[in-house]
Symmetry: C2
Subunit: 131 residues, 2 copies
């Protein structure tokens, strides 16, 4: 859980995947990432994308989350994080920053004796234009 038991070698594919992941702000599924690589001309197998993402998640280089329909989505771990307010009709997305929420989560976590707490917050509503 703390170290990488299996030796991990640097490869062209891993680098490409890490790069694409780091380049985008939000969470992406393995399939989306694979599609991006394809369209950018980088030929990488889908299975490899899955394996690389899992490895990164295990090594703490990526965050994993499950969408409502069970798809696994990944995000580069170190980047600053924010949340999204999504319109359920047109899909418009607003990035929001929630210092208040961050503070609250930290407090609640501590109260229950939890450490290394990560959080996911998503707001879904109807935007002014779609009302």
């Amino acid at each position: 859980m703390t170290a990488a038991p299996t030796t991990r070698r640097p490869t062209r594919q891993r680098a490409a995947i890490a790069e694409v992941l780091a380049a985008s702000a939000g969470f992406q599924s393995a399939q989306e990432l694979h599609a991006q690589l394809q369209s950018s001309g980088t030929r990488v197998g889908l299975a490899t994308v899955y394996r690389a993402l899992q490895a990164m998640a295990t090594d703490g280089e990526a965050d994993v989350r499950r969408t409502d329909d069970g798809e696994a989505v990944y995000r580069a771990c170190s980047e600053g994080h924010h949340h999204h307010l999504v319109c359920r009709v047109c899909g418009r997305t607003v990035e929001i920053d929630g210092p208040a929420v961050e503070r609250w989560t930290a407090q609640v976590s501590a109260e229950h004796g939890f450490s290394d707490v990560d959080h996911t917050l998503e707001l879904v509503g109807t935007c002014a234009d779609c009302r």
Copy 2:
């Protein structure tokens, strides 16, 4: 997404499913629930179990959560809306109530002109016992 426009009829199967769900304390997958019904002699189709659980979740009668491997697990929802603090190691779950978060989301939503905003917040960390 906000109301249940489709009329929902009471049936033997729905009742059985709701009962089993209410009878157990923790989260269960649709498959586990189905197995329980089978062994207790209640004959219900797996597809029906899935449909019923989804309906209950939509109607706010059940809580849904995704396990790390993407399986959907359900639990009877006591009442009111709350969030979860889940241990990433042992899966222990603490229900938390976040008036501060509720307030914050309402405010942010209003600021951006969004209405009927729903939110999902999940905290994942390592509990004291698993540290």
